[in-house]
């Protein structure tokens, strides 16, 4: 079995983030976003693949365009929701052909309402296995909601991704380091690099919704009360920065990098967090 080369990630620690491909054909919007987050300290850039089931410029094409213009590691997401097995194989071959640095294999959230139907010939584990067979030089990273409210099944699922050949793990954002550290302790040492996901929560109302609906999103004790007590949006923003910084400090010995997920998918929201983490 060929082991994918992850040298493009460097030695770490590093910051990465996501750049949402545009929903129109204007490459200037994409390059402006990529340039801004790189200037704020991001190294590897990830490109979400039709998040929320909304059509956008192909993530691999966007990643290749940014890599060509700016250089540096560029990794598109490839979801299994929108492609059958043949199209997934083609997507992997296209990623190799266009010279992106890897792919992040994602299953993809269900398509909302009347936008279409999901395919799901494979899930993310199947896609990682397919990449290992058909495109062994192409690293297939995975996302994972570590610290899930159902840790047993979540951690079994992560082990399946690792067994399938995942080259690195990017956790979905959370702000409670203790939950993540406990999960990592249960898993033992990971055989692949870990990128810890972070984000900024824009308001107390959004926080309460995420705590109710996103099963792996946790906050440290007292954070919710402090956010509800914030008198201004700036104060709430600063509380979020402090929490993310504390999370990064607590995980610094375990993570190879920190992955900033921009609030609302807007790169402008990632910049202050990248700058705060860069120190």
């Amino acid at each position: 079995m060929t082991t994918p080369d992850l040298g493009f990630l460097g030695e770490g620690p590093f910051l990465s983030t996501e750049v949402l491909p545009p929903d129109n054909g204007d490459p200037g919007v994409l390059l402006e976003a990529a340039s801004a987050v790189r200037a704020a300290g991001a190294g590897p850039l990830f490109f979400p693949d039709a998040p929320g089931g909304r059509a956008r410029v192909d993530a691999t094409a966007a990643a290749a365009a940014v890599r060509g213009a700016l250089g540096g590691p560029c990794i598109p997401h490839v979801n299994t929701r929108d492609r059958n097995r043949i199209a997934l194989q083609a997507a992997l071959e296209t990623a190799s052909f266009l010279g992106v640095d890897g792919v992040k294999a994602v299953t993809g959230d269900p398509v909302p309402g009347d936008l279409g139907r999901g395919v799901y010939d494979l899930d993310s584990v199947g896609l990682v296995q397919l990449a290992g067979r058909e495109s062994p030089q192409l690293p297939a990273l995975v996302g994972h909601a570590l610290g899930h409210t159902d840790p047993g099944s979540s951690e079994d699922r992560l082990r399946a991704k690792l067994d399938a050949g995942a080259a690195a793990v990017v956790t979905t954002p959370t702000l409670d380091p203790d939950v993540l550290l406990r999960a990592l302790d249960r898993l033992g040492s990971l055989p692949v690099p870990l990128l810890v996901g972070l984000t900024l929560v824009p308001s107390a109302e959004v926080l309460d919704y995420l705590l109710a609906e996103a099963p792996a999103f946790r906050v440290p004790p007292g954070f919710r009360e402090r956010l509800h007590g914030a008198h201004t949006p700036d104060e709430a923003h600063d509380l979020g920065l402090v929490a993310a910084r504390a999370m990064a400090d607590a995980l610094s010995g375990r993570a190879m990098g920190f992955h900033v997920v921009p609030p609302f998918g807007r790169w402008q929201g990632a910049v202050p967090l990248l700058e705060a983490l860069r120190g």
């Binding site: 994602v106 299953t107 919704y209 996103a214």
Partner: protein
């Protein structure tokens, strides 16, 4: 364009908590001030019709809370797209 969202209990309870914490008036005034900046036509509409009602404060509060509930839910739904339901999305 997104349709108006369906407000969830989590967001409803959170908005209510914000209202109670501020003692009510401060929270409502903040929303109104922001609305006047961001959506002045809507703000004028609310204040104009509230003043024609016997309980203008009640009408204004109801209208602004409705606005805040929809706004918060819209933010929450957009934010949750970054937090996949599936644990590997």
């Amino acid at each position: 364009m997104d349709r108006l969202p369906k407000v969830t209990e989590a967001v409803g309870a959170s908005v209510l908590e914000e209202l109670r914490r501020s003692g009510g008036n401060e929270y409502i005034v903040e929303i109104l001030e922001r609305l006047q900046d961001e959506n002045s036509c809507l703000a004028n509409f609310i204040t104009h019709y509230a003043l024609q009602h016997p309980d203008p404060a009640g009408v204004t509060t109801g209208a602004l809370l409705t606005y805040r509930l929809l706004e918060s839910q819209l933010d929450a739904d957009r934010m949750k797209r970054e937090f996949p339901v599936d644990d590997d999305s």
